[in-house]
């Protein structure tokens, strides 16, 4: 018991030291997430890219609604085929656009939100968008987990993309 505590403390000290020795930018990357960041989304609601690809391939009936809630400029360059742009989740106008898009949908509808503007813990859009849908009573909302960004974790991996509005 005591040995376990010592080992755990040692590991904690080691990780803490390693963290402090990293550059400020890397510390910032792993530092406290901004309020409302994607970190506020429960782990159970996260969807990995490969899982989404599989979902899109296997689901024939009742396809999920795919909504990009980040930058329109990024959406125009590349987005997941079939997805729609729903406004930036970090802006009140974006949240309103999202609300208008989903308002008439059944609350059990599977909705997958994604952004990929920046590293997961820095994304300002997904957290507020997810919270909005939850507050509206949607019970089947997932967030696509893109650790770095849409380019690195989706497009560069060869998953399908399309351009345009």
């Amino acid at each position: 018991m005591k040995t376990g505590l010592v080992v755990r403390s040692g590991i904690a000290m080691f990780i803490g030291f390693a963290f402090l020795s990293l550059s400020p930018q890397i510390r910032a990357q792993f530092g406290p997430a901004p309020a409302g960041s994607a970190f506020s989304i429960p782990e159970a609601q996260l969807l990995k890219p490969e899982a989404l690809v599989q979902l899109l391939q296997t689901t024939s009936k009742d396809k999920p609604l795919l909504l990009q809630v980040g930058s329109h400029m990024l959406f125009a360059q590349a987005h997941i085929p079939g997805s729609e742009y729903a406004g930036p989740g970090s802006q009140p106008a974006g949240i309103e656009q999202l609300q208008n898009r989903v308002n008439s949908l059944p609350r059990k509808k599977l909705i997958v939100l994604y952004c990929g503007c920046c590293p997961w813990n820095r994304c300002p859009n997904l957290g507020p968008a997810f919270a909005k849908l939850r507050d509206m009573g949607f019970t089947n909302v997932k967030a696509l987990y893109l650790a770095n960004n849409f380019g690195a974790d989706w497009a560069d991996k060869g998953y399908p993309v399309e351009q345009g509005y």
Binding site: M13, S23, Q25, A28, L74, P119
Partner: protein
């Protein structure tokens, strides 16, 4: 456990495990892989795509006019917190290394120019910034996530691409090696 950042414990369990393993491996090899610049296969050692824009001060911004200088072309946006973190260092670099031939150029990928202007003034950026769009993004291989910067040498060739949060000391070392003594 007070030595461990709160965000670490806030992260999903699987991510924590993954991060811990990567961190330990990274320390074993000396440098975290996240700090390494990722070289683009499409633009590296090729001529940087030319563009002409109007900057936020309504001046003409022609990339070809900077031939002879080392250009750090930085794509950013106001929604990119990491980009904002980098800006004070870029301002300092422009002041310190400008006389040796460094020119930083910012391209805002914001949808709303008003937001970009506000941050441009707030951060007192001392280098030109123009608004980007999807065409410019695609010209540079697709700006599908920020931060993103290109290091362009005095001949107009792309010497490095920095994707994501990159150690700024590493960027500084790279461009210093291209500057006049």
């Amino acid at each position: 456990m007070s030595g461990i950042p709160k965000a670490f414990w806030n992260a999903p369990c699987t991510l924590r495990r993954s991060f811990t393993v990567k961190l330990l491996l990274g320390l074993c090899v000396g440098v975290s892989a996240a700090q390494s610049p990722v070289a683009t296969t499409s633009l590296l050692h090729k001529q940087a795509p030319q563009f002409v824009r109007t900057d936020l001060e309504n001046r003409k911004l022609d990339l070809s006019a900077y031939r002879g200088k080392v250009v750090l072309l930085d794509f950013w946006a106001t929604w990119c917190a990491s980009c904002e973190l980098e800006m004070p260092r870029f301002v300092a670099w422009q002041t310190q290394y400008g006389p040796r031939g460094l020119q930083i150029i910012g391209i805002s990928m914001d949808d709303d120019p008003a937001l970009a202007r506000r941050l441009y003034k707030k951060m007192k950026l001392n280098y030109p910034v123009a608004m980007g769009d999807e065409k410019l993004g695609q010209l540079y291989g697709g700006v599908l996530g920020l931060p993103l910067a290109f290091l362009i040498d005095s001949q107009g060739k792309v010497q490095a691409q920095f994707r994501g949060e990159t150690d700024l000391n590493l960027i500084e070392e790279r461009f210093k090696s291209l500057l006049r003594p």
